[in-house]
Symmetry: D2
Subunit: 271 residues, 4 copies
């Protein structure tokens, strides 16, 4: 098996366990930031099932847990950037206290947790890239519309200021580059599969998220106080899409994975 | 009179007017982002009183308006980064519909509005610099505490990662620089007065606000998902202190004012 | 005629003139930074021929001037980043003192100077983008090879440092994005012509030049003192390719042109 | 003894040795980038004298070696950014082939090499900071003078462009901050000694060098092609002062040292 992509998902460090008792799995543990747990009918619990497996990436499994299972508790939703959210748009804190589910609730085979996560996360990340391009384009449109129409003085629109122009053109260049990277990665996934496009997927994960942050920042600055208000979606994106550089692998983790892959190609051992 | 510092506060462009009728001022206009209007006993209204004055910076005056004056209406508070706020912590939309106040409510002399605003805003800006240094230090402390104690794997704290270390040291350097600039400006204000320290005040306005944004961004990235939650003050600051680069003169406006001042020293006419 | 792309090439501001005398053009003027003038058999002189033309972009013409024409003098080559250069690799200072050439030496029609320049410069700029991608790739390769093999301590290569890894992966992302932009622009030029791809060409002019500067800077930093020496081509590129953000339209000029084009699409008048 | 500041100067990794034979030291090794070796009367050779010392930072010593000592050879000067230099302004490659010098040529006591280096380098670094501030100020002055006088069109100086103004004001802010940091560090060295100011010295080493690079880059961009020529000192500084982020401890090394120091204050073990 190839090197795992994310140091963050360290199986040695995983606290939730599932032990087999007869025809059941007994789960014990505590999960934080379980997105969309609120209102869900079932959870997919990643738990250590084979703590002694030689390959550390074969120690965990995914198990389906109906949320009405005794021992499963949604302790509450985390408040994120001022919003506790609810239902799909939420990040729950979940507890498993000897929650019992049928053995058949195992997804795939025992120890396949990491493989399954990778298979879903890998291509899943490109969807974020696509969505973020959409956010970028909308923010760009709001900025341009404002710059073209908001007058600083009679007959002198905001967009006549050179510094606003630089930000608009730089945003255009960055969004253009980000879109081409997403299209290219999608093309490669289609042609050669997600595994072959791993590097490209990591690069768009980092690049598009950073581009979005820059474009949103420029748009807010361009709109001034209006950009801080909820009269446009800019403020919400600025606050909540900040998470884009963190979830599904932080920037630093993806960049490290890409670099290690490249350096192995130059003969460097990265263990 | 020296060139006004902020192109944004263009008196030609000011819509609210106050005309004298007998012993009263009659105010008409609409104000947006009137901070702390909610719950206030009176407003200080900046209104054009001498539209024909040759010196455009002598056209506006400041007038006290009790908030129970007929014709004064607080239309509501703007929702900012998801929070509508209230009382002191609010940004109201205010309407003056032929609101009448005694002539004696004029602050200073007629046409002194800009001069008064400058006298208050100038030194007032340094207080933001001081407060932002406080935000920086607290964010820095939260990041360091987390980096020193959060383990990525047993015995391997987050702070052992070189990229986290770079961010911590760069933050230290930037906060250190920002603090020295604030102390220096305060010293100059004390020694020579606010007018002499105008350039320094503009530079800290821009520098400390940008430093704060960078430090908060690094702290959130360092804390990961935890940084996005309201379990620390980082998320609130990240969202709400974004306004620091906008209020009391946007970055671009301060930088332009400083550059024009410098270039005049090189003989360039800046009209 | 559409708005000229570059404010820099202001025909009102052009000092060299060519006046018609019988069957000859008589040229007078002084040119600086005439690249490859040294060793050239002829110059293409851009000169004002119709100073009164209503359309200012129809005032100048291109005229062939053999370098052995009396009145044509190559005053010398400018020393650039420590090198005076020579022959093709040079930037000459040229003087025209009543240099006379046959009327037939006019390229195209009178007043076509700007149109011809645009036709050559437009697509010409993409060739720089292609060449700079080559510089980026070679610099990247030098950095990776060094990082993979240079040991900080026995068994600990430079490339094991996380900050080096971040720079390598960020460079990979940026070069990848830049290459896709160049390929896309080339595809568009082929499909729709250079005029249709004007925005894309400006964006790669800026983006690839900046990417190259960043990649070279990281490579030099990664190689340390070795990166400063002429034992690798990095130092030469770092010094001499700095011009990439200046020649054929400075960053600021291209960005301004792109933004104005975009803002016109939003109804803003940009004269 | 406190943790050594620079991982780069790893004594385990030092190749040059000096072994005692009677009343002499016999040196063997090869040194690269020995600044100012060309024309020097003597070298100060850092060599491993006690390879078995438990404290690795007590293994090396400094020994005076007259350059006419048999076995001492200056192999040549490295070509740096296109210049091989000479005399004081040079970086030599030096060879010690059983070069013998009297035992009395040892500086201080055996094993004191690192301590001596630190004592000289520490305060020595602040002198670079001071010198770089001078470079910054001169570059800033060249940029402002050019911006104020160079006309883009009649009556429209370069300095009227907002993007030029932003760069001028940002440079002013950064140079101002850098100078205050240098003054503060100097004051602390004077009051409490170089050891107490170690963190401040590292921070100015990084901050001033980076500020200088940014200011020089903006100045060259502002002057355009002229900035690339040797008609101003900007080009030389741009090329040669690039080394400032490398010599006397690279940025990354200083930042890492500062961060580790800070994190130890938060209880993190950094070995």
């Amino acid at each position: 098996m190839t090197e795992p992509e994310f140091a963050g998902s360290n199986p040695v460090w995983m606290g939730t366990t599932a032990r087999r008792e007869g025809a059941e799995w007994v789960l014990r543990g505590h999960k934080w930031f379980a997105s969309s747990a609120d209102g869900a009918a079932f959870a997919i619990c990643m738990a250590v099932t084979s703590p002694e497996a030689a390959n550390v990436y074969r120690r965990a499994s995914m198990i389906l847990v109906p949320t009405d299972t005794p021992g499963f508790t949604l302790l509450g939703n985390a408040s994120v950037m001022g919003e506790r959210g609810g239902d799909w748009a939420s990040h729950g804190e979940v507890s498993y206290q000897d929650a019992r589910v049928p053995a058949a609730n195992l997804l795939g085979v025992e120890g396949a947790g990491f493989v399954l996560a990778q298979e879903r996360l890998g291509p899943g990340r490109i969807h974020h890239g696509m969505r973020w391009i959409g956010v970028c384009e909308r923010a760009f449109d709001i900025l341009c519309r404002h710059a073209a129409t908001r007058e600083l003085a009679p007959g002198k629109p905001l967009g006549s200021k050179q510094i606003v122009q630089q930000g608009i053109a730089e945003s255009r260049a960055e969004i253009h580059a980000a879109r081409l990277m997403v299209l290219h990665a999608a093309w490669r996934i289609e042609k050669e599969g997600a595994e072959a496009a791993r590097e490209e997927i990591s690069l768009i994960k980092v690049t598009v998220a950073r581009t979005m942050q820059k474009v949103l920042d420029r748009a807010i600055q361009g709109l001034g106080a209006l950009g801080m208000t909820d009269d446009t979606p800019l403020a919400w994106w600025y606050a909540h899409e900040r998470a884009a550089r963190i979830y599904d692998g932080a920037d630093e983790v993806h960049l490290e994975a890409v670099a290690r892959r490249i350096l192995r190609g130059y003969g460097m051992s990265t263990r």
